[in-house]
């Protein structure tokens, strides 16, 4: 096609599938020849509907699939907040509600589905809701403010999500399900019973086999009348009784629709009109609609492919599901109900732990056909692809569901087995990504590059396992030992030190190591001991464990001199203190520079000068800034509400408080924080390991930001926190990081490396899912209570000071190797010239 004759694709709806279609179109070059106009009825760009429930915690912004609100490609136009009213296949044009008419060459319908509200009396009373959009959730939250009891009609997957949300909003919650069990489509009776126990344990009331006859109330809802059962009082009712494809536009235009709803399309997702396509929940390929996002994504790819002249087809989808409902894993895959002739069931059930697992295997016991997992679905990642690829079952299939050791059971999948069903990624593709000539350096990178694991996340453990196993076959190290001296990871070392109350390197080697350590394990153990004991880093035997920066409480420079960085909490400093720093720099002839961390660096100090310099600084009220330590550096602040006309909270005060709270905290890598007084974010808090941004109602807490070589924006952990909750979450987050991160792993890659990523952090920090909260807070309280300034303590201890000499036998003689030149009016290291000799023997003082 001539590039001068551009064609137009109009996409109706901007939901998850529409967004994927546009992404695919841009990535595959369709926009080289086509303009794309996307018209969406919702007031915002596509967002992660699958994660809708987390809206209450993280807000709308975090759910967005297009945070900038527009596509980078200028050939994609996005119209939001305007529904399409109709389209006309004759003139090939669509009519928008605001009167605009757009002509198309190709039309893609991606209008999704709408919740089904059964037409029972009272279904439209005030207080009745559905659960599909962010606006629905906002309305539910507003209503929940004055209500005490809520009921959800429908005990399926979405109904349970809605019930969870009501209960988290503080309502006493009922679930009313017509079928005899919860999640009737996905799980069997025994699985449903296990699920009911979990849900009831969380304080919800479950009514199965219960038919709602009417919604009670005059104008407002007051309750539900059930058939053959007592009525339930409730002020909020959420309908979650299934969904219906939104095929009205297509019907009105005279297109064929499926018997049970949905735009009828062929294997290429083309409707009965050759220029109209339908994808996602509004489409019914071969007459069947799919209420999951993965098949929708496949359809989006198929249509992008078709418009490029490719051969792709959609031939049905794996309807397997795995989800976490109220902290309970539920998964269902393949022939979950053993409908195949002769199929056998293999069941493992532990009522106390609330775990139910069932495998469905072929009559001859050779193949896995499907299964149900409730309470523990770790095996899902490997079981689902086993069904899809039809590989023979291992000799002891029960091992696949018995409580597992390594998280994911041992098995070997064929190369073409689909590992990530959401994004259609095979084992071979994952291995290619991490192969010697591949692009990825580990599981987290594979998720970024291939998208495997980026949607529902259920395949992440398997992705990780495939990468590790692949490395093993390549002879590449998957050995996570910290070094040759300890067969343990940093986290394991941390735990053994804590559990056995080890107090010194010698004790740790004696218990778990060999040899005498190295520059890797020694500083790591020093850091672990420091986090747990908060002793002086130069105390006794720990001195020799420290990296040179910690060993001299200063940063070594290229010529062997050191820098001095006093702490300036939050970047706030009085003129008097500024003058002191100036005087010290002048008197010791140091180079001065304002750092990127809102403080001042004094460089070029000889080791033997450090105590005298710090004497002056400590006397003036300064303390160590720990620029040398793997520990808290700075908490950057903006001026905030005190001065700034936009500020809504006192960001300086909070930054100072946080810096003083966490100063001196030894951690796997350095830690930086930031506090901004409003959303303009002048403190760049989202570039920090922890960032706090003021809101009208409190503080938003972001975690996992990083500058450096691999920048990352911090992600919202929790919003609108009061000060006390903020401190509690921060205490937990930092201590959880200190306990579990690898050595020299900043918070961003640490969060990536956790199974579940940010969600995991939220579970531990916000939901306290591990019940570790108070322990982590206590550990932080210990740190805060025992903090002391290590430079001041050093100045008071002759033994420690004795180390700060140039030569043991000539303590006053400056190292002749260190010389300076002048640059821009200040000193700078002179070019190195090789070993320098003083040319004479220095007399030895009395030893």
């Amino acid at each position: 096609m001539s590039p001068h004759h551009r064609r137009t694709i109009v996409v109706v709806g901007h939901g998850m599938v529409s967004h994927r279609f546009v992404q695919a179109a841009v990535e595959r070059g369709l926009t080289e020849t086509h303009d794309i106009v996307v018209v969406g009825e919702e007031p915002r760009a596509a967002y992660d509907r699958v994660a809708l429930t987390s809206f209450f915690e993280v807000g709308a912004e975090a759910l967005s699939l297009l945070p900038d609100g527009a596509y980078d490609d200028p050939r994609v136009r996005l119209v939001l907040g305007v529904p399409v009213e109709a389209f006309d296949p004759e003139t090939r044009s669509v009519l928008l509600a605001d009167g605009e008419v757009i002509t198309y060459d190709e039309l893609v319908l991606a209008t999704g589905a709408a919740p089904f509200v059964p037409p029972i009396p009272g279904h439209d009373l005030e207080g009745c809701f559905v659960y599909r959009t962010i606006e629905d959730l906002e309305a539910i939250r507003a209503a929940a403010g004055t209500a005490t009891v809520g009921a959800v009609i429908g005990g399926g997957l979405l109904g349970l999500e809605a019930a969870n949300a009501l209960s988290q909003l503080g309502l006493e919650t009922h679930v009313v399900e017509m079928a005899p069990r919860l999640m009737a489509v996905q799980v069997d009776d025994a699985g449903g019973a296990t699920l009911t126990r979990h849900v009831e344990r969380l304080g919800l009331s479950v009514h199965t086999g219960a038919m709602t006859e009417r919604v009670l109330g005059e104008h407002r809802v007051t309750g539900l009348a059930l058939k053959d059962a007592p009525a339930i009082a409730a002020e909020i009712v959420v309908f979650s009784a299934g969904i219906r494809p939104r095929d009205a536009l297509a019907r009105a235009a005279g297109l064929a629709t499926a018997e049970r709803g949905g735009v009828l399309v062929d294997e290429r997702c083309r409707s009965s009109d050759p220029h109209v396509w339908a994808i996602g929940e509004c489409a019914a390929p071969g007459g069947r609609m799919y209420g999951l996002v993965a098949p929708g994504y496949s359809m989006a790819e198929v249509v992008a492919d078709a418009l490029l002249g490719g051969p792709g087809t959609f031939t049905g989808a794996d309807m397997s599901t795995k989800l976490k409902l109220m902290g309970v894993d539920v998964a269902s895959f393949g022939d979950a109900f053993a409908t195949t002739d002769g199929a056998l069931e293999l069941v493992y059930s532990d009522a106390v732990a609330g775990v139910y697992k069932k495998l469905v295997v072929s009559g001859d016991g050779t193949r896995l056909l499907g299964g149900v997992l409730v309470g523990d679905a770790t095996a899902y990642g490997v079981l689902r692809p086993m069904v899809a690829s039809g590989i023979p079952l291992p000799d002891n299939p029960e091992d696949l569901i018995l409580p597992a050791g390594r998280g994911v059971p041992e098995t070997s999948l064929p190369a073409e087995a689909q590992v990530c069903s959401c994004n259609d990624v095979t084992r071979a593709q994952i291995e290619a990504a991490v192969a010697e000539d591949g692009t990825c350096d580990g599981p987290a990178c594979v998720t970024r590059c291939t998208r495997a694991g980026s949607t529902c996340g259920s395949c992440k453990p398997l992705v990780k396992r495939i990468v590790e196993d692949f490395y093993a076959t390549q002879g590449r190290t998957v050995d996570r030992s910290i070094c040759e001296h300890f067969p343990l990871t940093r986290q394991e070392l941390f735990d053994v030190v804590a559990v056995h109350e080890l107090r010194s390197f010698d004790q740790v080697v004696a218990a778990h190591g060999t040899g005498r350590g190295c520059e890797i394990c020694k500083p790591a153990i020093a850091s672990i001991l420091a986090s747990q004991l908060n002793g002086h880093v130069l105390e006794g035997q720990t001195r020799t464990l420290q990296d040179t920066n910690d060993a001299y409480l200063a940063n070594i420079q290229r010529n062997g001199t050191y820098s001095v960085v006093p702490r300036i909490p939050g970047g706030e400093i009085t003129p008097e203190r500024l003058i002191v720093i100036g005087e010290v720099a002048r008197d010791f002839e140091l180079y001065t520079k304002i750092t990127g961390g809102q403080r001042i660096d004094l460089l070029g100090a000889r080791m033997e000068q450090l105590p005298a310099i710090w004497r002056r600084l400590v006397d003036a009220g300064f303390e160590s800034g720990h620029a040398y330590g793997k520990s808290l550096r700075t908490v950057k602040s903006c001026v905030g509400s005190t001065w700034c006309r936009y500020g809504v909270q006192d960001s300086v005060q909070l930054a100072i408080d946080l810096e003083l709270r966490y100063r001196g905290l030894r951690s796997p890598h350095k830690l930086k924080g930031g506090v901004s007084g409003c959303a303009r974010e002048c403190a760049e808090a989202r570039g920090k390991d922890f960032g706090v941004i003021a809101t009208e109602r409190g503080w938003n807490l972001y975690v996992g930001g990083n500058g450096g070589a691999t920048p990352a924006h911090a992600q919202l952990l929790a919003g609108d926190l009061d000060r006390e909750t903020l401190l509690r979450y921060l205490d937990r987050y930092l201590m959880y990081y200190i306990r579990t991160a690898d050595r020299l792993q900043r918070t961003a890659p640490w969060i990536d490396s956790l199974e579940g990523g940010l969600d995991r952090v939220r579970e531990v920090v916000v939901d306290d899912a591990l019940g570790l909260g108070s322990e982590l807070e206590a550990a932080m309280a210990r740190h805060v209570d025992t903090y002391f300034d290590e430079w001041q303590a050093t100045l008071e201890d002759p033994d420690k000071l004795a180390r700060f000499v140039s030569f043991v036998n000539a303590p006053g003689t400056p190292d002749p190797h260190i010389t300076f030149r002048t640059e821009r009016g200040q000193i700078a290291p002179a070019e190195p010239t090789g070993p320098v000799s003083l040319g004479s023997t220095i007399p030895v003082g009395a030893p």
């Binding site: 040759e484 001296h485 040899g515 005498r516 350590g517 190295c518 520059e519 020694k522 500083p523 035997q541 001195r543 020799t544 464990l545 420290q546 990296d547 040179t548 060993a551 001299y552 070594i556 290229r558 010529n559 062997g560 004795a802 140039s806 030569f807 043991v808 036998n809 000539a810 003689t813 190292d815 002749p816 190797h817 260190i818 190195p832 090789g834 070993p835 320098v836 000799s837 003083l838 040319g839 004479s840 023997t841 220095i842 030895v844 030893p847």
Partner: protein, 109 residues
């Protein structure tokens, strides 16, 4: 040989720098009680810093890691363990009556 310090002035698995005939010499004491001396000058970083490195073992080899960029040097021979072409000169060293004595520079291992 000249006396540069008392043995107890060197921490176990630590080092000190001393001036010997005008040259900076790093003297180390290992966990098994041995004392080693080599030039304090790190040829990789071109700075006089080796005495401030971390002392450890690789297999059976006692070594110091430069505090600058972590290259490892065999305490017994001065051989760089990461680059066969680099070696740091070593010095005769002996402990006598609690005093550490440093002697001539050894030209080859």
């Amino acid at each position: 040989m000249i006396a540069v310090c008392r043995l107890d002035q060197i921490e176990v698995e630590g080092g000190v720098a001393a001036l010997v005939d005008g040259a900076a010499v790093a003297i180390f004491r290992t966990h098994d009680g041995n004392v080693y001396a080599m030039s304090n000058y790190d040829p990789c970083a071109q700075a006089s810093v080796l005495a401030r490195g971390i002392v450890g073992t690789r297999g059976d080899v006692p070594y110091v890691a430069s505090p600058m960029h972590k290259q490892a040097f065999d305490l017994r021979t001065g051989q760089c363990l990461d680059d066969a072409a680099i070696r740091v000169p070593t010095y005769d060293v002996r402990v006598d009556d609690g005093l550490v004595l440093v002697g001539a520079r050894q030209e080859s291992p």
